[in-house]
Amino acid sequence: MTETEFLLWVRGPAFQIATVIFVVGSIVRILEIMILGRKPNLAEARGSAVAGGLRTIITRSWPDRGTFKRSAVTLVSGYVFHAGLFVTILLFAPHILVIDEVLGISWPALPTPLVDATTVITIIALVVVLLHRIKDPVLRFLSRFQDYFVWFLTILPVITGYVAFHRIGLPPPTLIAIHILSVELLMIAFPFTKLAHAFTLFISRWYNGAIAGYRGVNS
């Protein structure tokens, strides 16, 4: 297989396979949760479940002072790498081009050097997250193989993307192919690992807030 054939396979069949697994997997996982349902709540509502749910989605996205004091490293590095991923994935011109091609929607890109710098910051934050996980006895005790595996799957596209952008070491088509392949691995693992929190966190936050709201508790 030549480097061009490799790139074409990655852009062609492999991307289609990864897309099918990602889409089918994500929808199945969400429907599994939704359809299972809950028993009807016969208690009289003292507040609005909808308002409580929405409020908690917002309030839980913002750290309170106590959390910051207890785990500043987790909080700062966590926010930095999530924001970094947002910028590098969604505000880099070639990525917007892919989204435009697939979904037909696009938006303005950030200047490339800014995205480049953000990539470095994101990698540093992800490394800090890993070191903290290994060094902190409680986190280490709670960590299983999957936690390290999804960390690896997350940092891989960032690193391969950085290397592909700067064309380090291998022919450029091969570097781009490796980068796309690493994203495809992430897409395949996404619905079936903790990475699915990107969808489920809103469901669970909503639910927490909705119960509290229903009973009139100021969540």
Partner: protein, 362 residues
Amino acid sequence: MKTDQTLGERLRQQGISRRGFLKFCAATASLLALPPGMVPVIAAALEKARRPSVIWLSFQECTGCTESLTRSDAASVEDLIFNTISLDYHHTLQAASGTGAEDARESAMKENWGKYVLVVDGSIPTANPGYSTIAGISNVDMLMEAAAGAAAIVAIGSCASFGGIPHARPNPTGAVSVSDLIKDKPIINVSGCPPIPVVITGVLTHFLTFGIPELDELHRPKAFYGKSIHDRCYRRPFYDKGLFAESFDDEGAKKGWCLYKLGCKGPTTYNACATTKWNQGTSFPIQSGHPCLGCSEPDFWDAGGFYHALSIPTGDTAQTVLYGAAAGVGAGVALGALYRAGKAHAVHQHEKVTINDLEKGG
């Protein structure tokens, strides 16, 4: 034409002044990214160089490479340098034909065995030797015979370097490159469809003065193929700012913004177009508003379409997402129904424990 004349003697005979000659040497040195101190070295080496015998074999090709070379400014010193090599066989350019032409090739090979430079343009068919023949000799046989006595081989154009267009899918002739067949000779690939004329003469000058130039992993001279089109492109600032032409006639195209979205292969293409340019430094494809096709890279013809950016998926992903979503909803609802049934079953199986049961158990 006397073959034992040195290049210097020959140039003087043609009325090229010392000043004109040194200007050429200086231009070549800067082209090859050599320090200015090398100019006298190039001049001295070229002065003394005997006209090397060059045998040019054309296989499965379109003559575009020869056109590129011969259509460069006829009065240029590069052209004279090329006149000053002893081009002993080139079946497009030579006057002789038939047996006379083949005799010229054979006698040139015999006289300069082990010393001549073999230039090849075009790919070589391997599926059937009869697909391309010259004077009844198959391309493979002629290449093998000529390569055996060559000091070095220069593969001109993407066909000779990587198989090129004949090698594109489905490759009906089983076309291969020179380096696919020849393993025991130094090969310089001067890729491009066609290659830049000044790159051809530059490589030849380097070969005459310093021998084989420094090559990249694809055997291309680093002096010309060391930097990507993207890195040297005058539209690069627009890429970095995220300003792209969306179509060939929109506001961005008129303002000269980056052509990445229109399929430009500049980021993965290594060639000197952005610096040396074409037609005596007039322009190059991107400057005239067209994305780079990546013609100096292997398999550029099959790289997923000239007008699709390199990072774009080739399949119909929107349709895949749609079908995937439908399948996902189906599978999710089926699984959900299964879980609900299981839950209902568990509720049904549940037996209430009364005080009496507890007392019995106790």
